[in-house]
């Protein structure tokens, strides 16, 4: 299963859920023959009861990263 992000680490965040540190990247062809790759490492809290990967995927999809 290929995933468009890499989970670096997780830790519980009391009362909120699971804190997830992850990396995400995307490459775009801004103009003919020119591409740029953007990668960021960031953090998100996944609420209790949510599947971490699915939650992350939905957030990143809605934000336009993937």
């Amino acid at each position: 299963m290929i995933k468009p992000f890499e989970i670096i680490g997780t830790r519980p965040v009391e009362g909120l859920g699971t804190g997830v540190t992850y990396k995400v990247w995307r490459t775009e062809f801004s103009k003919p023959g020119h591409s740029q790759t953007l990668e960021c490492e960031t953090f998100i809290i996944v609420p209790d009861g949510e599947n971490i990967e699915e939650y992350l995927f939905e957030v990143l999809s809605k934000s336009g990263w993937i």
Binding site: M1, P32, F57
Partner: protein, 206 residues
């Protein structure tokens, strides 16, 4: 137009993403896959009937930087294949071929790459993708056409071949025809460079 392949009565053309043809294909693609983005790919193919998937498939080529980041440096190329009627998609990843040559391959055939199929998180994939893969090879055109009962189709610049293998059995042969040099036309050069970059020089003398 950067590449054409023939498989029986089916043929597929690959277009650079900046072309009107690519944009036109993508209009149709978005009707089934609204999440797809043209700017994510450097090439887009015409839809072609895939004999194993039994669906119309559009192939979009991913930037090498994305594929190597997502998969690893051993991956030479990645494409995303969109199956239009089933509304499914999957990744096809291309790596240097390092296994034994199948017995049914002609003597002159040298297999350069193997393409394998992979599902993506949260993207429905066809159920059959684990059952087949493709071998990409070069060789003597006369021998290959005779061995597989292929029509004579040869590019003025280069000709390469792809074999789709289903559960170990040959299912189809694709003839890739290049009349001029372009981004896809030098499989042998890409293979040689990849072998060097991946410290697989032992394959160069095979």
């Amino acid at each position: 137009m950067s590449e054409v392949y023939f498989s029986g009565s089916n043929s597929r053309t690959m277009f650079d993403r900046e072309t009107d043809a690519a944009a036109e294909v993508f209009v149709g693609l978005l009707k089934v896959f609204p999440w797809a983005r043209l700017e994510d790919y450097f090439s887009v193919s015409s839809p072609v009937y895939h004999e194993v998937l039994r669906d119309q498939v559009v192939t979009c080529c991913l930037p090498t930087t994305w594929t190597r980041r997502a998969i690893g440096p051993e991956c030479i190329l990645g494409t995303r294949k969109f199956c239009l009627e089933g509304a499914t998609s999957f990744l096809r990843l291309y790596k240097i071929f390092e296994k034994a040559k199948p017995e049914w391959m002609p003597q002159s055939a040298q297999i350069l790459f193997e393409g394998t199929n992979h599902a993506e998180l949260m993207r429905p994939a066809p159920t059959s993708i684990d059952g087949f893969s493709d071998l990409y090879f070069k060789g003597n055109a006369d021998e290959i056409e005779a061995a597989f009962d292929l029509p004579q189709k040869r590019g003025a610049y280069e000709t390469f071949y792809g074999a789709t293998v289903v559960n170990g059995q040959l299912a189809r042969i694709k003839q890739y025809v290049y009349d001029t040099q372009g981004g896809f036309s030098d499989w042998d050069v890409v293979w040689m460079m990849a072998c060097k970059h991946q410290s697989k020089q032992h394959l160069l003398g095979a």
